[in-house]
C-alpha cells in the first residue's frame, strides 16, 4: 500500500466511537472531508460492544451498525483504523496530526473477512471483546460486525506457524509488516476519544478484581448481548445460571478514596437497564441494586427507573463497603442499609460493579489541549458551547469532555460538528449557492 505521506482533510476526528462517527457524519453531510482516526481495529467504540441501550431498550448494535456503515461508505469520510495518534499540533492555519498505522499483519485491501485464518490458527487467547469470557485466535476478525471486516494478527501471541498464511485465499497475511507513520492535515479537529471504565484493581474493598464472580458492567454487557460469550447469562466461575445478582453502584465514582470524586453519570441507568434485561433473561432471579442516589435524570429515565421497581428489581439504599468471597462461588457484600436496617451482609451468585468512567485518552503529551481536575478535556465555554476547547480549531465531543450517556453524546457530537463548520466558515466565507 503506497499511502501518501501527507493527506489533507477539512476535519480530523480522533476516535471512531459513536461520538466521532456522529461528528464525522454531520460534517461530511455538509460537504466537509473528514478523516476518522481510530485506535482499535474497528470503528464503533464502546457502543458497538453494548447489549441494549436505555431508555428505549433497543439493540445497541442495531443503532451503531447503520452509523458505522454510513461512515464507512460516505464519500467524504476516510477511516484510519488501528492507528495511534503521536501528536496533534497547530501549524499556522492547519492542524497536523502525526499518525502511526499499527501493523495488522494482514493486507486490508486483500482481506475479504472470511475468517479462514481464524479457524486455522491454533493459538487460543482471551477475547477481550467478550469480557475475556471466551476465546479468540491470535489472528481474528475483531468482532462479528466490525468495520472494516479485516483480520488482525496479534504478533505478541503469534507462533509464526504459517497456518493462516497457508489458508488465506487472497495471500493477505504478511508477517513482515511494519508500523507506518504519516501525517494528516486539516483546518479543524474533533476529539472524541471516549472513556474507559475505572479499573476494578484500584478498589481494595471490592477485592481488587480477584474475587470470582465479581465482574464489571461492560463484562455484563457482553453476558447480556445476543452474541455474547455464553449466549446466555452464566456466572464465570463455573457456568451456573445465577439466581441472585447484585449491582454495586458508585463502585468507581463519587469516591475520593479512589481519586474519582465526580459522578460518572451513566452507571445508574445502565445498571437499571441491565437489571431489566436480566429479569427478562432470568425471570426467576433476584436482582438487587445497591445505590446511594438513583440518578435517572434524562428524558424517560425516571419512568424507566420506576418501571424497574415495579418489575420487582430491588433497590437498596446503601453503598457497599466490602465484598468478600463467599461459599461455593457466591459473593458476600457488606453494607449499612440506609433504610434503618443497620449493617447487613448478603450473598449473591454474581456481583456487578458499576465502575465509573475515566477519560479514554490523555491529551498530554500528544496534544496541547487542557484538561480539568477531573482529567477530561476542558470546555472553555461550558454554558454556551461545551465542545469548545482552549486549542483553536479543536473541539471535544462525547465522553472525552466528561462522562455522558449516548443520547447526550450524540447531540454534543452534532454540536461539535457545527462548531467545526462555523470555524471553517469564518476562515473561508461561504460562496452563495443558488437557492
Amino acid at each position: 500500500m503506497a499511502e501518501p505521506q501527507v493527506q489533507h482533510f477539512d476535519t480530523i476526528v480522533i476516535g471512531g466511537g459513536i461520538a466521532g462517527l456522529q461528528s464525522a457524519l454531520d460534517l461530511a453531510d455538509q460537504g466537509y472531508r473528514v478523516a476518522v482516526v481510530e485506535k482499535d481495529a474497528s470503528i464503533g467504540g464502546k457502543m458497538i460492544r453494548l447489549s441494549k441501550v436505555f431508555p428505549t431498550l433497543d439493540c445497541a448494535s442495531c443503532i451503531t451498525t447503520p452509523k458505522m456503515a454510513s461512515a464507512a461508505h460516505h464519500e467524504n469520510i476516510t477511516l484510519f483504523t488501528y492507528c495511534n495518534v503521536d501528536g496533534i499540533v497547530r501549524m499556522g492555519e492547519e492542524i497536523h496530526a502525526r499518525i502511526t498505522q499499527n501493523p495488522r499483519y494482514v493486507d486490508p485491501d486483500k482481506c475479504i473477512g472470511c475468517r479462514k485464518c481464524e479457524y486455522a490458527c491454533p493459538v487460543y487467547l482471551p477475547d477481550m471483546e467478550q469480557g475475556g469470557f471466551s476465546a479468540k485466535k491470535a489472528i481474528s476478525i475483531p468482532f462479528s460486525n466490525a468495520i472494516p471486516q479485516v483480520a488482525v494478527l496479534d504478533a505478541e501471541h503469534c507462533m509464526l506457524c504459517g497456518q493462516c498464511e497457508t489458508v488465506c485465499p487472497t495471500d493477505a497475511v504478511d508477517y513482515f509488516m511494519e508500523p507506518e507513520t504519516f501525517t494528516l492535515t486539516a483546518r479543524t479537529a474533533v476529539l472524541s476519544t471516549g472513556f474507559e471504565l475505572s479499573p476494578v484493581k484500584d478498589k481494595a474493598q471490592y477485592g481488587n478484581g480477584e474475587i470470582p464472580n465479581v465482574i464489571d458492567s461492560l463484562q455484563m454487557e457482553r453476558l447480556l448481548a445476543p452474541h455474547g460469550p455464553y449466549n446466555r447469562v452464566l456466572r464465570p466461575s463455573d457456568g451456573m445460571e445465577p439466581d441472585s445478582i447484585a449491582y454495586v453502584q458508585c463502585a468507581g465514582s463519587r469516591d475520593k478514596s479512589m481519586g474519582v470524586s465526580y459522578c460518572s453519570r451513566v452507571c445508574c441507568m445502565y445498571a437499571i437497564k441491565q437489571a431489566m434485561l436480566l429479569s427478562g433473561a432470568l425471570p426467576l432471579a433476584d436482582i438487587t441494586i445497591y445505590y446511594m442516589d438513583i440518578r435517572a435524570f434524562g428524558k424517560g429515565y425516571e419512568q424507566f427507573y420506576q418501571n424497574a421497581k415495579a418489575m420487582g428489581i430491588e433497590f437498596v439504599k446503601a453503598k457497599v463497603a466490602r465484598i468478600n468471597e463467599g461459599d461455593g462461588g457466591s459473593v458476600t457484600v457488606r453494607y449499612e442499609n440506609q433504610d434503618g436496617g443497620g449493617i447487613q451482609t448478603m450473598d449473591h451468585d454474581l456481583v456487578v460493579l458499576s465502575m465509573g468512567i475515566l477519560p479514554g485518552w490523555r491529551p498530554e503529551p500528544y496534544c496541547p489541549v487542557s484538561t480539568d481536575s477531573d482529567r477530561f478535556i476542558t470546555s472553555i465555554k461550558p454554558k454556551i458551547s461545551p465542545v469548545l476547547t482552549d486549542m483553536e480549531g479543536v473541539f471535544a465531543a462525547g465522553a472525552a469532555a466528561g462522562p455522558k450517556d449516548i443520547v447526550d453524546t450524540i447531540s454534543e457530537s452534532g454540536s461539535a460538528a457545527v462548531e467545526a463548520a462555523k470555524y471553517m466558515q469564518a476562515s473561508e466565507p461561504i460562496l452563495e449557492t443558488q437557492p
Binding site: 474493598q205 458508585c250 463519587r254 469516591d255 475520593k256 478514596s257 479512589m258 446511594m292 446503601a318 453503598k319 457497599v320 463497603a321 466490602r322 457488606r334 453494607y335 449499612e336 442499609n337 440506609q338 443497620g342 449493617i343
Partner: protein
C-alpha cells in the same frame, strides 16, 4: 430531636468540622471492625444535625473505637470519620472535666 447548627462550630476546636462532608453512605459503619449499631456513622450524623445531647447520652460508645483508621482511609468523601470520633472523645472528656 433538637437541631443545632452551631454544634459544628463547637466541633471545629476538636478535630475539625469534617463531619459535614459526610454524605451518609455508611461505608465507615459497614467496614468498622466493631460491627456495632451504625457506628461510627450514627455519631457523625448526630454531629451533622447538632444532636449533642444524643452524643453525650451515648458517649461511652465512642471509646469502642480502635482508631484503626480504616474508615478514614476508605471514606468516599474524605470526611475523616476516625478523626471525628477522636474529636468527639476529646469533646466528651473536656465537657465532663469542665462540669
Amino acid at each position: 430531636m433538637i437541631l443545632d447548627t452551631d454544634f459544628a462550630d463547637e466541633m471545629k476546636q476538636y478535630s475539625g468540622d469534617t463531619a459535614l462532608e459526610c454524605f451518609n453512605c455508611g461505608t465507615c459503619a459497614a467496614l468498622c471492625p466493631l460491627f456495632h449499631d451504625n457506628f461510627p456513622r450514627r455519631m457523625i450524623r448526630y454531629v451533622q444535625v447538632g444532636a449533642k445531647e444524643r452524643i453525650l447520652e451515648n458517649a461511652n460508645e465512642l471509646w469502642r473505637c480502635l482508631h484503626c483508621g480504616l474508615c478514614t482511609h476508605t471514606c468516599p468523601r474524605e470526611a475523616d470519620p476516625g478523626e471525628i470520633i477522636l474529636g468527639l472523645k476529646q469533646m466528651v472528656v473536656e465537657t465532663r472535666r469542665r462540669s
